[in-house]
């Protein structure tokens, strides 16, 4: 294979002889350093692009130490403490926090702090409490608390240690390494810091003519990451804006939005506006406000980079808050590319679908680090797992580039691994080459995921921190993961979009998640206009797929507010008096490809789900609870699934459920869907070809049928039988 390019490799010193051969073999056209490695002098002669990492908001400790007022801040909440029978209540606000990370900011605390009675939700007047102590030992005393009410203190605090550097420092145990300092960040809102950021970047660019691509890691505000008194993670939200707050910003906000912000707007009862919370109006305003600020300042930094003829690449992580890659403003920053870590099909699409950038790049696993690249380690298996998940996403919407990180000198000690990487790079490039730069054809069914966040959290739902497994989310994340490799034009839309008539743009809408979350919708469903929009959509021919606890909020005699459409509702323990006679009728189009529909894995399930009446077809019943059901309502259809962890079978179930919900099941057998759910196909009708992927790690044989025109109607039906090697991908001709 001679195709080259689209691959970034980490290189290091001491491998000068091998580097040209490795780069050529893998077709790498860009190189980067990694934490703890430096680019070799030979780099300039390799004929490849050079990436180098840049930190705008930390790393220059002298500046940070000289400008303590420029440190970033965040809002924190004390523990919940009950007031005694008589007398005042003292709260040690730092209890449970890490004193090397957090220092209460006592500047104008009567304006910026709040003491709240959490038994009633009422704010204690500022004259009702006092603050004693300084530095990291601070006590708040409520003079006359209501006996046995529970109180908390919302306080603004300085971040006295950068979160990511702290994480690395603690994880790598740098305590005795005198070359390491505890890095302090600085806030782009601070005028001196901002001027410093710009001049520093300019100087840095000037000093590095050899660098082609500035890899920003990242910009200003870190996602929320707070440590506990033992130096362990206490609160993490990869989507959190808690660290973007400071008095200057809050005052500017008030000027612009016409209302005052409160500490509680950020503390949010201790939930800190986690992305699982139905977002408040104020929080959405704050995101918009911060994004405008961040994007305009990012643009200024990108402009500097461009002045020097370099490209600007953003790492999707760390200090990425306010960039909002799926927001309206991101393209205006002029950023050239986005690079992010690929941990799954969904995170791959999260990168590759970002609109308005010149290129996207996925950093693949495994990282060339000694935890995997050691005697007994199996980097090959990790590479395969990562690639199989990424490939199906890339086949739907290609990343422009892929790359690796870590120490190349380690990786080359595993020749099998390097050979596999070579194959992966070739396979990746073939998707660009054979697909002729086009996306594969989508099924003629327009699909939307409906939640409180909509487009802003495209591919970013149900996640706490990047790709971490939680018992409470995997049954919903599986839906996103499945869709990341399925042939649908998928949009993420918000409840506001639904109310504003956007449902008309779709054939099938999914509402996925646990009750009370932003993804199911919680209190949003108390607004009848939302339920009416969905009910109209289905009655007039649309398809609704509910997974978990869709449309759930207890009101007016129902828990699922669209129980009449979905055909199911959840028993909370207050309607046990109603007799139910559920009957399983398992035969259905949507389970037709499963070996054993009885074994459908609904993950954690959704509790006790019942059919509201006999018009609901129950496909799977476990312990009298409905796991899977369908229903026709008006001219439309609905499907209910109790949970959908990612698996080949579940992806197929969802694939079919979407066809059925759209009333398009008659087309299914002519749409190039392999009989084996472990095989997927991306169809490129303009090229007259299709990319067949065996997602299994063993060989398989599958049949598939379709027409030369792809998923359109024209042409004769061709039926093929394909024998595929383990993990094989293959280009086939459609005709």
């Amino acid at each position: 294979m001679n195709a080259k390019g689209r691959v970034t490799l980490p290189i290091e010193q001491g491998m000068d002889d091998q580097l040209p051969g490795i780069l050529s073999r893998l077709g790498a056209d860009a190189v980067r350093n990694s934490d703890g490695t430096w680019l070799p002098e030979i780099t300039a002669q390799l004929g490849v692009k050079v990436y180098e990492t840049y930190f705008p908001a930390r790393g220059q400790q002298d500046f940070a130490l000289a400008n303590p007022d420029a440190r970033p801040r965040f809002y924190l909440m004390s523990e919940r403490v009950a007031a005694p029978a008589t007398g005042p209540l003292s709260i040690d606000i730092m209890k449970g926090y890490y004193k090397l990370q957090v220092e209460p900011d006592q500047g104008n605390l009567r304006r910026w702090w709040e003491v709240i009675d959490r038994t009633t939700g009422e704010v204690v007047p500022v004259d009702g409490w006092t603050v004693e102590g300084e530095g990291v030992d601070v006590t708040v005393t409520v003079a006359e608390p209501v006996p046995f009410h529970v109180y908390t203190v919302n306080f603004l605090a300085w971040q006295v240690w950068d979160s990511t550097q702290m994480y690395n420092y603690i994880t790598n145990n740098w305590w005795d390494d005198e070359s390491r300092v505890r890095e302090i960040g600085y806030d782009a809102r601070h005028p001196v810091a901002w001027e410093f950021m710009k001049s520093s970047l300019r100087a840095w660019c000037e000093e590095r003519p050899e660098v082609d691509v500035v890899r920003f890691t990242t910009f200003f505000y870190h996602f929320t990451l707070v440590f506990n008194d033992l130096g362990k993670e206490k609160y993490v939200d990869w989507f959190g804006y808690s660290t973007s707050v400071n008095p200057l910003a809050m005052e500017a906000f008030e000027q612009e939005y016409g209302y005052q912000l409160r500490a509680e707007d950020f503390v949010d009862q201790g939930f800190y506006n986690s992305s699982f919370r139905v977002p408040s109006k104020v929080f959405r305003d704050w995101i918009e406000f911060t994004t405008r600020f961040v994007c305009s300042r990012v643009k200024e930094l990108v402009d500097i980079v461009h002045e020097f003829g370099k490209e600007a690449l953003m790492f999707l992580g760390d200090n990425w808050m306010g960039t909002e890659p799926y927001g309206e403003l991101f393209a205006s920053t002029g950023i050239d590319g986005v690079v992010g870590s690929v941990g799954s099909s969904a995170t791959c699409r999260m990168i590759s679908d970002i609109p308005g950038v010149k290129f996207t790049e996925g950093r693949f696993l495994p990282h060339f680090f000694p935890d995997v690249f050691r005697p007994g380690g199996d980097p090959l298996a990790e590479a395969n797992e990562s690639w199989l998940l990424a490939r199906r996403a890339i086949a739907r919407k290609p990343l422009d580039r892929i790359g690796y990180g870590g120490y190349l000198s380690l990786a080359v000690q595993f020749p099998d691994f390097m050979a596999r990487v070579e194959q992966i790079c070739d396979e990746f490039r073939s998707i660009h080459d054979e697909g002729q730069g086009r996306r594969p054809q989508d099924a003629p069914i327009r699909v939307a995921i409906l939640n409180a966040w909509g487009r802003k959290r495209t591919w970013m739902t149900h996640m706490v921190a990047h790709a971490l497994w939680y018992k409470q989310i995997y049954s919903y994340l599986g839906v996103i993961e499945a869709l990341a490799g399925l042939p649908f034009d998928l949009k993420f839309i918000s409840f506001d979009d639904a109310r504003d008539g956007r449902l008309a743009d779709f054939d099938v809408v999914l509402n996925v998640g646990a009750a009370e979350t932003a993804f199911s919708g919680g209190s949003e469903w108390l607004d009848e206009s939302l339920a009416v929009a969905l009910r109209r959509f289905v009655h007039e021919g649309g398809g609704l797929i509910g997974i978990g606890e869709p449309t759930a909020v207890l009101a007016n005699g129902a828990y699922f507010q669209l129980s009449d459409v979905l055909g199911v509702d959840k028993e909370l323990g207050i309607s046990l008096s109603t007799d139910r006679y559920p009957v399983e009728q398992p035969q259905h189009f949507i389970t037709a490809d499963l070996d054993d529909a009885a074994k459908v894995d609904v993950g954690e399930g959704a509790g006790d789900i019942f059919a509201v009446n006999d018009d609901t077809q129950i496909l799977r019943l476990t312990d009298k609870s409905v796991d899977l059901a369908t229903r026709e309502t008006g001219n439309g259809r609905a499907v209910y699934v109790a949970g959908l962890p990612y698996s080949f079978d579940n992806a197929r179930l969802l694939h079919r459920a979407i066809y059925w919900a759209a009333g398009r099941e008659a087309d299914f057998d002519a749409h190039w869907v392999p009989s084996d759910p472990g095989v997927e196909i991306a169809v490129f009708p303009e090229a007259g070809k299709a990319f067949v992927m065996n997602n299994r790690t063993d060989a398989t044989s599958t049949t598939v049928s379709g027409r030369a025109k792809g998923l359109a109607d024209g042409g004769d039906l061709t039926a093929l039988t394909l024998d595929l090697e383990p993990m094989e991908s293959r280009w086939i001709d459609l005709a």
Copy 2:
């Protein structure tokens, strides 16, 4: 054994020779007939009391047919139906109902019916809808519904078939039996019906000088029991008042309470005020109002019975609504006794604890019916199971009498069974004889179950219909079942009691149940005075035991409103960003008697429970979720258990948890608690004896230690080892 009495047997014709021997052998001093049997002529010479069943509100079909206006009514709700995009909406209100049971009552329907928009909760003005049809085919049309809103009709309906007789008729398939009519009831509110009820009873008593005890089955209003269009049970609530409603009553209510009742007050969004619902003020008023009416009329009937020198016995079931045996008015009826079916320890206590009656009687299982008394049937096993559960309850609070029902001629064909019944009767009487008429001593710990119902639902919590198993309740019913045989002075108290200072009367309070139910409390916990009363109680030294989802309602940053006291809260999926590091510390006083604390059975559990901080001791953790935890707060203590199905081990766990919560664990080993949780003891210090029960069906050996003064402090500690036969009970001397 010579002791006689306290036993009622069903007898029948054709056994004259055997009867005296059987009665003597079992010590029976009363006889009754059963459905389908008649007392033999010999009865008067048997020297025993004679019971006969009486139905005040049905059974006289001529009267019922002549007085259709006297038929009882109920409130029902139609299906939920969505309005179309344009035009009117027609609702077939009888869809899903049984036309042989239900006939819409169109009298003054503009006053008594309601059409409700269930999407908003708003009532449609009466001019906005019309009714077409008559009899059992009735359609309501909403002229201008809001498109895609969901509507229901609340309608008043005649009960055209008595619920219990319908149940028997359908169950026994009497359709082709021409001797059977479909019995219609009559309502005591109806003046003509009421006069008829009194005169009928008087005539009946006059005609039956041989009857000593009139067994009322029961009085006026049946518990809610509605059938579906296939003649199967559609809605059942053993505590439901839906059938006590009629316009006369509602008008009288309005006169007295000063406000108008609405159909929705009874329909309750389709939940029909199930006892699992947190009761509304209106529903509680209605219960009070109805109970005053029922009890005053019951008194008039009882007075008639007494006039004839007979006793009045009430069957606890069927038409028992408004008698409220644990209400203030029950004793004023003059009823002599209550008889009910014993299906468990808790249902036994539900009967035996009824205050203000001369005697209580338990009808034991198995019924002498052919379903059990057949070749291959095992009536002996059923008798043992029933007796073991009843015995531990009887040992705490004796029933005054026990009895059986059914066909004696069947039972005598099983000599082993009859021999066992003889033993059971003797064992039962020994509790009265040896206990010298006293209750056994309770532990010096005053215990309360706290819920929305309080005393009125003493032993009646978490039940849909008598002793039926539901997945959603068994994990809570186990608490009640355990307590029914444990040595505590237990009271059921309401949230109002707690707010009114009643907690001071107790050492340990339990809150048990699922979120949103009347038993956990749901929205009641939004009233801060309730949480404050409990928090004060614990801080000042009380013990709180929470089981399942105690104090749960999402507000002010907590789901369990007493999470600070219980030390745990529930993850709903909105606080996943908070890191948790739960550590199991299984060693604890409360699990000390369990072979393997790791195997504690929490039944259905309560979802994802987490410790709020490190001050909570987690005794058992499953999949990172807390099943069992303890915490000290202020001067008090709390215990959390995720669920507690009844078992010997769980009863012991609860026993110890109560001691620990009360701070009395140091006393435990001197309080006559057997080392084997399968053995229980009732201590009668005045008699100097204790009643030891082996609840196991196999032999066991157990140690036990205590003092001659029982559970008081005095006297030397005696330690015994007891070897017990399967199911054995034994009286031992304390000294």
